[in-house]
Amino acid sequence: MSDERLKQVSAIRRAMIRPELGAICGTILVFVFFFMIAGDSGMFSPEGIQNWGVVSAQFAIIAVGACLLMIAGEFDLSVGSMIGFAGVVIAILSVQWGLPVWLSIIAAFIVCTALGALNGFLVIKTGLPSFIVTLAFLYILRGLTIWLSILTTRQTIIGGVKEAAEGDPLAWLFGGVIFKGLFQWLGDIGVIDTFTRGSRMGQPVVEGLPMLVIWALALIIFGHWLLTKTRFGNWIFASGGDAQAARYVGVPVNRVKILMFMFTAFCATVFATCQVMEFGSAAADRGLLKEFEAIICVVIGGALLTGGYGSVIGAALGALIFGVVQQGLFFAGAESSLFRVFLGGILIFAVIMNTYIRRMITGER
């Protein structure tokens, strides 16, 4: 058989060999591992699950954006700074200028996606690697964030957003929790621990499902659908695989890349908004190093740094692995500085495994 598209592949092999296979194995391994060493530490109690679940969801939100952008062949190193910047924009507009919170949130989304578009525009126009352009924005945005917050409040942390967001519909969409009734019932029948004293006596310690998790799931589903079920998804693969070849066959590469930069900025803003609504404040140092954490999730999930190959599901599993390992080591009572050693080990191991899997899929390269 000379044409690879006509080659017979067994159903089992097709089901098994996929970009996220490494991440699936990794997830299973990590869970088995932590069940063994931290099974009785409260890590798998409802409260513990909420803890690493929320952390993983946070990683997943920025990983989806980073994943699609990376498949399109570009990087965004300004994600972390964007998180800090978006949060401070929301806080300044709502707390300092007294605008309604929903308007501040919309404004932050507009400003940040515009910045994402600017990132993309500069990359396309200058032909510079996105690594360099977004590295510049990492510094520009972080500096602006600190300067803006000191300029308006003489502090680097702006509180009072919670009070401003009371009863705001859009604020609830990012910072609220759902299924409160269900969780209260679970508390009443003793599945979840309840508070034993104070003003919240009798309420479950896990109040409900945070909207942050809903956002993460929604973005994962959207990203996966976009990538695998639409024509635009094929364009993303094509732009990252070989931009010149894609242009020859009529793929609007520039538009795809700029849109992906905007989507990454959008994801960072979702992350920031959820964080600001949850903690009631924005700070200039939020989101430090988050861009690398997003990239790590994506790489663990099997994407190629050079573009053209990867999977959103893989990135989401990468985020889950990252969150479980980070919080799990705390539960296991390990020395917290060893977390990075562990993470680095997982990263190397995952990349080696993913390379091996990719060779099986694409044939030797």
């Binding site: 929320v54 942390i157 509180g159």
Partner: protein
């Protein structure tokens, strides 16, 4: 492949197993700080909880957000509460961010003592047992009064952790004591030693009239000292710093630094462990907060201090 996996698992088991020490009662406490990994100042507190833990027969774990991101810190507080320890010792690095997680822990019935950052009022509002620390604004103000008494009129405040609101309070207190408005005299120096040094040099070149320098900890004090030496101003200019290190102690003896404000971190680590252990065992509790500082270290009292600088002081 299989071999590598086994090795990783074995290594992980090894260090997970290291952290459990058997002892008489074996209460479990968790201390959560806001300091990034790069902050050396917290070593004293790490040593203090180890000493207190060994003495009391309790197990104390130290946790911190690796990058100093306070949102990560809030997650760690939630995580610590989920393991149901016998007590939590935590800094109020930012009241808004930590309010939720700390009150959740208190409502779960976990005894909480707040340390280091934050105020006594905030500690009470969170429902903590007590606060062990040094009021930031007051400490800055006290330092400013010393500078004013020495005749200082204008100053520069080298802030190496400007993203933490407590740092700005220190500079503000200093400015208020001198009776000047805090504006651009606060430098956002960053953590990198050579950057701090160069920023201070540039500032001193641009503002020849500066006659007092305040640094907020060893991370900004060491490079600032180097900058002053280069400019030939060491010992000529009023220089006060927060916290102590062996290098700062040397400079105090040499007369290059006039005073160091010591909040005695050792007590912030040691006392909460002792108090929480006794509270868990016999339900005894001192009433009221504990001020661990400010104490001023000058040429007069440096000798007994410096022996343990960086380790217990």
């Amino acid at each position: 492949m299989k071999k590598a996996l086994t090795a990783i698992a074995a290594a992980a088991f090894a260090f997970a197993g290291l952290s459990g020490t058997a002892s008489a009662e074996n209460e479990k406490f968790v201390l959560i700080s806001h300091a990034p990994d790069s902050d050396s100042w917290w070593n004293v507190i790490k040593n203090a909880i180890k000493v207190a833990g060994d003495q009391m027969g309790a197990e104390v774990e130290y946790r911190n957000p690796p990058t100093g991101d306070l949102a990560d810190m809030a997650r760690i507080v939630e995580q610590a509460a989920a393991t149901n320890p016998d007590g939590i010792i935590v800094t109020i690095a930012d009241f808004n961010v930590l309010k939720g997680p700390i009150t959740d822990a208190v409502d779960k019935g976990i005894p909480v003592i707040t340390i280091n950052s934050g105020t006594q009022e905030q500690s009470e509002e969170l429902g903590a047992l007590m606060h062990v620390g040094q009021p930031e604004y007051d400490a800055g103000f006290g330092a400013g009064k010393r500078a004013a008494a020495a005749g200082a009129k204008s100053f520069v405040c080298v802030n190496h952790y400007i993203t933490n609101p407590a740092s700005v309070e220190r500079c503000r207190g200093f400015a208020d004591a001198l009776g000047v408005e805090l504006g651009s005299q606060m430098i956002d120096s960053g953590q990198d030693p050579s950057e701090v040094k160069n920023k201070v040099s540039a500032y001193l070149n641009a503002h020849q009239d500066v006659d007092a320098v305040l640094t907020l900890g060893p991370n900004s004090a060491h490079p600032t000292l180097a900058a002053l030496r280069d400019a030939g101003l060491a010992g000529e200019i009023m220089f006060g710093t927060f916290d102590l290190s062996s290098e700062i102690a040397e400079a105090i003896k040499a007369g290059e630094i006039n005073f160091a404000i010591d909040q005695q971190p050792y007590l912030q680590g040691y006392l909460p462990v002792v108090i929480l252990t006794n509270y868990a065992r016999y339900s005894v509790l001192p009433s009221g907060h504990i001020n661990s500082g400010p104490g001023f270290i000058t040429k007069d009292n440096i000798a007994q201090v410096e022996k343990y600088a960086g380790e217990y002081r």
